[in-house]
Structure formats: structure tokens, C-alpha cells
């Protein structure tokens, strides 16, 4: 009898356990259904403008960068979107490369020699904090940008005096000729992005807030630093027809695959792309815009041969240029998106020479090395970054075939890469340098004052003389002198340029105006509109 009772209780226990298990499974299924349903609703809400139910007046942008600051005088140029939305520049750099009036209605150099520059300012403009835009504020801005130590400061070192001639006229006097001020005062060169005078008096605020005269203003309540930045229309904007959205959100998406997924699913409408994902973006039916922008290759920093004596001989530096198969490397690394180059500027650009300097000729390279007394080759220490490690390796393979051995050190951390480039312990470094007018390149790349990218202070009297003359020349004279400078750099083989690699922008079909051109390889979110 006891045995029968025990069996019954076991059966009841098993049934009870099964019933509980069934209840648990049902509960789990219910939770999954609720989450998937909620997810579907969320997915619809998070969709891009017009793509999946999102109000058409919201633009969602994916940015690969966390801004180092929101202060236009301190932010890196690669992160210009964060200030483009809130700050109008003095001069607008249009997609066709032309400079157009914005907060300045006209500008010109006075007299000869590019030493005095005058701007006429737009009247009746107010900043988002309500303060007026005047010549005094422009003077304050230029002095602030010059002294703040940001990227644009290097372009303003020759500014000796800024005078507010009247309420709408500013005159800048330079200590040395500088023909590039119109470009320096555009949105992408940053120094033209005008900040309210009140904010400059308290610049700490600019790290987390905006105070510009642009179409939008940062909504601090809807912004989470390093995650997303929300902009709302600036109610006091002078040019309301340029406000295309009720809200613009920049979402930080550092991982390129994550950014592409977010674009495909409609969470964002525009992202920066890169050549590794360009094919996938095109396959997904997204709009892919690209334009060549960055010259990449080797910079032979030790041109005097202090670390590696063979580099003092121009025949050796030329041999390295002959030994590199630019077409093969460019095709292999960047496919259809890369452009082989023997010069540091692009065809059609300021300073370009319409001739070939170095065809691929390893035999000629070997001959030049033998003539210089290095028939057995030599070793060369090269430092590269995450962005240039692949091209450094490809160049190393080609140079190895003529006996020149590259000893590569790679830093994924850009700070360490820049430290080693400027440190003077590497005879060469792999370079990726965004193209710009020759006059702006000088103090950053090839003049003795270029502390970062000319670490051994290489100098060439011809280049320096032409550079000075070009600074004071008119446009025609400057074009000829710029061509000579670029040709001299190629003939003296200070660099081993290999490819121009493009910048990419991907956008959904809900947005138009996302353009990149060789004349302006940077797109500005204030130009983007609902399609």
C-alpha cells in the first residue's frame, strides 16, 4: 500500500514539475513576443527621416568621432560637423571649390603683397545667445582662434593686428604675406566659424555648449556627451531658408561596421564611410559619395642622412621612388577608389605638374643605388599609424626587391605615432596627409618650421624662396610658383607618394545634398536636405 502511495505521489510530483516547466516556457515565450513587438515598434521609431515612420524633419547623422571639444577654436578639423551646424563661417567653401559670402559679404587684400586683408561683414546678424555680430566680435574671434592653440592657430600666426574699422569692416594686418586667409576663414578650416563675444569672454562654456550664428544650436538637455549630440533650429538665424530639419542628431558610431548597420536599418541617415565598407554600402543600395583627399606613402624625413646616411644622396631617394609600383599597390589596397600619384597634390589642384616624375622602374632604382654606392641596399626605420600600416607594408615589399629593408614600427594610437614622427628617431614615416593649398601645406609639411611633419628640419633654399615669393604674389604668379615647389619636392624626392585615397560619405535615399568633390572633399551637414 505504501508503495502504491509513493508511486502516486511521484506521479503527482512529476506532473506538477511538468506543469511548472510548461508555465515557465509559456512565460518565456510571452516575454520574447512582447520584446520582439516592442522592438519592432522601437525599430520604426528609430528609423531615419522618412524611411520608416520618423518625422521627416529629423536628420540622424552617424559620426565616427567623439569631438575633442565643441569649441571651434579647439576642435579637430576631422570633426567639423559638430560646429558646422551651429556656427556660420565668414566665408563659405562651396562644393565646386568656390568661396562664397556668408557672414562676410565681401573680402579682398589691400595693396600689393598680401599683407593687409579686409572683410566687409553682414549686418543685422545675431548669435544664438542674442548678442550682436559686429566687427569688434570678429576681431575678438580672430585673436581668440590665434591664441587658443587649436588646428587653425597655425594659420593665423602671421596676424599682427586686427582692427575694427567700423561696425561692419574688419582689417587684418599681417607680419608676413599670406594669400590663404580667405580659405582659412571657411567652415572647414575652422577659424571662420564665428563665436559670440559673450562666449569668448567665458570660453569654458564652449566645451559643452554652442554660441554661434549658424542654423542650429546644441540642445544640451537632449545631448549625452560622447554618445549623441542634438541640435535644434536657431530661432535667431539670419538665413532661415538654410534650416532644413526640425532636429539634427549626431550619433557617435566609432565602429565602421556598426555605423553601416545603423544606416542600413534606418537608425541614421548619413555616415562617414571608408574603402573597406564601400562595396557593402553600394550593394545595400545606399548612396556612396567619394572624392580623393589624402595623399599616402612615405615621408623620407632624414634628408640630410643624419640617421641613415644613404638618404642624404638624392639618387637614393629617387631610387626609392622608382622602386614602388604605385598602380599595383593602389589597386591592391584601395581598388577602384584609389588614385596612384607621384606628387603630393592631385591633378587639377593648386601646384600640380602635368608630367610624370617616377614611372615604376626597379632596374633604374637598382642602377641609382649602385651609382650612389649602395648596390647591396640598406635598412631604414619607418613608423606607421593604424591608417598607414598597410601601405607601409606594401611599400616595404617593393623596396625589399631592390635591397632596401624597411624596419616597420606601427602605432595604432595616433598620439604615439605623432610623437614618434616628431621625435626624430625614425628616418622615415608612413604618411597620410589631407590635401590642401600649397601655401597651407608649407608650415605643416615641408618648411623647416613644420615641427610635426618635418622633424629633422630639412630645408631647401629654392623651395623657401619660392614659398615666400608665392605668398606675396597674385593668383597667376602664385600658381606658377606652387607648381615649381611641388616639382622640386618630387625631384628632390623628399617623399615617396603612392596613392590618393578618398573620403567617403554614405547616405540613405531619404537625404540629398551629401556631396564630395575633388575641389571640396568634405561634406557639410547644413547642405543636406530631405529628398
Amino acid at each position: 500500500m505504501n508503495g502504491v502511495n509513493h508511486s502516486r505521489s511521484r506521479i503527482a510530483e512529476v506532473r506538477s514539475a511538468r506543469w511548472r516547466a510548461g508555465r515557465l516556457v509559456a512565460l518565456l515565450i510571452a516575454v520574447i513576443v512582447i520584446m520582439v513587438t516592442a522592438g519592432a515598434c522601437y525599430g520604426q521609431r528609430a528609423g531615419g527621416a522618412g524611411a520608416s515612420g520618423e518625422p521627416a524633419d529629423q536628420l540622424n547623422i552617424g559620426s565616427g568621432f567623439v569631438p575633442n571639444s565643441l569649441d571651434p577654436a579647439k576642435i579637430n578639423a576631422a570633426m567639423a560637423w559638430y560646429v558646422n551646424l551651429a556656427y556660420d563661417p565668414l566665408i563659405y567653401w562651396a562644393p565646386d571649390g568656390k568661396l562664397q559670402p556668408r557672414l562676410a559679404t565681401s573680402w579682398k587684400y589691400l595693396g600689393e603683397g598680401n599683407r593687409v586683408f579686409e572683410l566687409k561683414l553682414r549686418e543685422n546678424v545675431t548669435f544664438s545667445d542674442g548678442s550682436p555680430f559686429t566687427a569688434d566680435v570678429v576681431k575678438k574671434n580672430i585673436e581668440y582662434f590665434r591664441d587658443a592653440g587649436g588646428e587653425s592657430a597655425a594659420s593665423l600666426t602671421s596676424v599682427e593686428a586686427v582692427d575694427a574699422v567700423d561696425r561692419s569692416t574688419v582689417r587684418i594686418t599681417l607680419s608676413s604675406p599670406d594669400p590663404s586667409l580667405p580659405m582659412v576663414f571657411t567652415q572647414n578650416r575652422l577659424a571662420g566659424n564665428m563665436i559670440s563675444g559673450k562666449a569668448i569672454d567665458n570660453p569654458g562654456l564652449l566645451a559643452t555648449a554652442t554660441a554661434g550664428a549658424g542654423p542650429y544650436v546644441l540642445s544640451e538637455d537632449e545631448t549625452v556627451a560622447s554618445d549623441h549630440y542634438t541640435y535644434k533650429p536657431n530661432p535667431s538665424y539670419w538665413n532661415k531658408q538654410d534650416v532644413h530639419y526640425g532636429k539634427v542628431v549626431i550619433k557617435v558610431l566609432p565602429n565602421p561596421n556598426t555605423a553601416l548597420s545603423a544606416l542600413k536599418t534606418g537608425q541614421v541617415d548619413v555616415i562617414q564611410g571608408q574603402y573597406t565598407t564601400a562595396g557593402a554600402a553600394e550593394s545595400a543600395g545606399l548612396n556612396v559619395a567619394h572624392a580623393p583627399q589624402v595623399f599616402t606613402g612615405l615621408a623620407l624625413a632624414d634628408r640630410a642622412g643624419e640617421l641613415v646616411p644613404p638618404l642624404a644622396d638624392v639618387r637614393v631617394r629617387r631610387a626609392l621612388n622608382f622602386a614602388v609600383d604605385r598602380k599595383k599597390i593602389t589597386g591592391g589596397l584601395f581598388g577602384e577608389y584609389g588614385t596612384p600619384t607621384e606628387q603630393i597634390v592631385l591633378s587639377g589642384q593648386d601646384g600640380y605638374n602635368d608630367k610624370s616624375f617616377y614611372s615604376y622602374d626597379p632596374e633604374q632604382a637598382r642602377r641609382l643605388l649602385a651609382e650612389a654606392g649602395y648596390a647591396d641596399g640598406f635598412s631604414l626605420k619607418v613608423v606607421s599609424s593604424a591608417n598607414t600600416s598597410a601601405i607601409a607594408q606594401a611599400i616595404a615589399d617593393d623596396l625589399g626587391k631592390v635591397g632596401v629593408r624597411l624596419e616597420l614600427t606601427n602605432h595604432n594610437d595616433p598620439t604615439n605615432y605623432l610623437r614618434d614622427v616628431a621625435g626624430g628617431e625614425f628616418a622615415a614615416y608612413a604618411i597620410g596627409f589631407g590635401t590642401m593649398p600649397v601655401h597651407l601645406m608649407g608650415p605643416r609639411l615641408f618648411l623647416p618650421s613644420a615641427a610635426q611633419f618635418n622633424p629633422m628640419r630639412s630645408s631647401d633654399p629654392s623651395i623657401e624662396s619660392w614659398y615666400r615669393d608665392a605668398a606675396a604674389a597674385d593668383a597667376k604668379g602664385r600658381a606658377e610658383l606652387d607648381r615649381r615647389i611641388v616639382a622640386r619636392l618630387a625631384e628632390e624626392a623628399w617623399f615617396v607618394p603612392v596613392s590618393f585615397i578618398p573620403v567617403f560619405m554614405y547616405s540613405s535615399t531619404s537625404v540629398t545634398g551629401v556631396e564630395l568633390t575633388p575641389q571640396r572633399p568634405a561634406s557639410n551637414p547644413v547642405e543636406w536636405r530631405p529628398s
Binding site: N68, V224, S261, T265, L418
Partner: protein
């Protein structure tokens, strides 16, 4: 209990000092510095010297550390020299993301992992082997890869969940829950495997002991034997593993945060380290140390609840 808590808090003070001092020294000894990171391509030796002076980086290291420590004890973690943002609120914002991920994953690991472990220990046979296989697979799958697969399937191919992003709980509880599904599922895969394996082994050990046979002989129901006696005795090693798992999740979710573009503490730590943003690195190290202290305290309290003998010690 109160004495235990007070003792733990007192012990944690030198721990915090040692960890943050080590972090400070290691970060200071790493190549590069804050002024170099801020200047970037605008570097000149003169600008570097001036900025280093303005930021106080030319002072002796221990003076800089003491300055940070005294401010930190007053609740002031300083301002990031890179972004100009206050470190304390920045960390608070990101802590909520990391805790959402960590707590969510820990809950799933306990519910599913312990459940699977108990089930396989009780049923054994095929189910037991299946749990072993699932644990192995869970261990073997790289989080980063799994996250990309989940995004491709559940956000791109079948668009039912968001591919990226985090919705704060205060903004939308539903959105918050949904934004956590894929990242938590990614992290939980290995966490569930760990918990299932640990629970199964502990339960098998306990169920084979003599007192369990005595309980059965005395007619105690199987449910009571499993849950009241077996699981409670097996829980101590499981709680230990859970504590370690929680700490690992809090500090190791950086890849998952990156894939899902979630603004968590891990991402902040990586970003601050690469930018040589010392106040932020120090703040994150402080918070991670406090998380370890709190988790260890909770684990100790759980020991006491599960095994009264521990309370006496």
C-alpha cells in the same frame, strides 16, 4: 553584519588609494602625454611646453596625484583636459549604461544558467551532456563576432531590434529594455554557459552526498531536496562565480559597447587612455574599484545568508 560592512568599507580605502596610485603611475609612464594628445598635428616643442605648464603636467607626479586624490575625496573628479567636460557627471551617465548591461546579463545568467545547471544535474543523461556542449559553445563564441551576427540577423535581416544605441530608462522604459536585448544576449551567452556549468557541477556534488540519501529515506519530497537543500548548499561556489562574473562583465563589456555604440564605462576608459586623459582614467579606475568592493561585500553577505556558519566567523 553592520561590523562586517564597516570593516569592508575601511579596508576599501587603502585599496582605492593603491589602485588609483598604480593607475596614475602606469598612465603617466605610458608613452605620450595629455599635452601631446591635445596638440596633435599642431605640435611644436614650445606649444607643448606651454600647454604642459598650463595643465600642471610639469609638476612632480606625486604632487599631481595628491592633488587629484584630495579633490576626489571631496567628490570632485576634475575636468577632462581633452573635452573640457566634468568627469563625475560623465562617469555617472556612463555608469548607468554599464550597470544596465551588467545587471541584465547577471540576471539572465542566474535565471537561465542556474536553471539549466539544476535541470541537467537532476536529469543527467543526454540533458547533462547537452548542457556541457552548450557551455563549451558559449565559452567558445567570441562576443565581438556574436554581436555582429545578432545585429545582422535581428536588426538588418529581420528588423525587429535596434542595431545600435542605448535608451535611458528615464526616457522610455520600453525603449531601454529593447535597446538592451541584443547586447545583453551577446554578453549572456558566455555568462549563462559559465553559470550552467558551475551550477551543474556543484549540484552533482551536493546530490551525491550522504545527507541527501537520508532526506530521501525520510520521505522528503524531491522538490524540497533539490531546491531547499541541494541548491542552497551548491549556491556558495555559484555565488562566488557570479561575483567574479559581475566584475568581469563590468570591466570587460567594452567590445560589446563598441559594436552596439553604447556609451558605457569601458568605452570611456579606452578612449581616455588613448587620449592620455588622466582625470577621466583615474575616475573610471576609482569607479571600477568601488564596483569590485561592493560586489565582494554583497558576495560575503550572500555567503552569510546561505551558510549561517560563515556569519559567526
Amino acid at each position: 553584519m553592520v561590523r562586517l560592512i564597516i570593516r569592508r568599507i575601511l579596508i576599501s580605502i587603502p585599496l582605492v588609494v593603491v589602485v588609483t596610485l598604480l593607475t596614475f603611475l602606469l598612465q603617466s609612464l605610458a608613452p605620450g602625454d595629455t599635452a601631446r594628445a591635445i596638440l596633435g598635428e599642431s605640435y611644436t616643442p614650445e606649444a607643448h611646453a606651454q600647454l604642459s605648464h598650463e595643465l600642471g603636467l610639469d609638476r612632480p607626479m606625486l604632487v599631481q596625484y595628491w592633488d587629484w586624490l584630495t579633490h576626489a575625496f571631496r567628490g570632485d573628479l576634475g575636468v577632462s583636459p581633452i573635452s573640457g567636460i566634468d568627469v563625475a557627471p560623465e562617469i555617472a551617465n556612463r555608469l548607468s549604461v554599464t550597470l544596465s548591461l551588467t545587471v541584465g546579463t547577471a540576471i539572465l545568467a542566474v535565471v537561465i544558467g542556474v536553471g539549466l545547471g539544476v535541470l541537467s544535474a537532476v536529469r543527467r543523461g543526454r540533458l547533462g551532456r547537452a548542457v556541457d556542449v552548450i557551455s563549451l559553445v558559449g565559452f567558445a563564441l567570441p562576443n565581438f563576432w556574436l554581436a555582429l551576427v545578432l545585429v545582422t540577423v535581428f536588426a538588418v535581416a529581420i528588423p525587429v531590434l535596434p542595431a545600435t544605441g542605448y535608451m535611458p530608462l528615464a526616457d522610455s522604459p520600453g525603449g531601454w529594455l529593447v535597446s538592451l536585448v541584443l547586447p545583453v544576449a551577446t554578453l549572456a551567452t558566455s555568462a549563462v554557459a559559465v553559470m550552467a556549468k558551475q551550477t551543474r557541477d556543484a549540484m552533482l556534488d551536493v546530490l551525491s552526498r550522504g545527507f541527501v540519501h537520508s532526506l530521501r529515506a525520510n520521505g522528503v519530497s524531491e522538490t524540497s531536496i533539490i531546491f531547499r537543500h541541494g541548491l542552497r548548499n551548491a549556491a556558495i561556489p555559484v555565488v562566488t562565480v557570479l561575483g567574479l562574473l559581475f566584475v568581469n562583465l563590468a570591466s570587460g563589456s567594452v567590445l560589446v559597447e563598441a559594436v552596439f555604440a553604447m556609451p558605457g564605462l569601458g568605452g570611456l576608459a579606452v578612449q581616455a587612455s588613448t587620449q592620455h586623459d588622466l582625470p577621466t582614467v583615474q575616475g573610471v579606475a576609482l569607479v571600477f574599484t568601488l564596483i569590485v568592493v561592493v560586489v565582494n561585500l554583497v558576495v560575503d553577505l550572500a555567503y552569510g545568508w546561505l551558510n549561517p556558519k560563515v556569519r559567526v566567523r
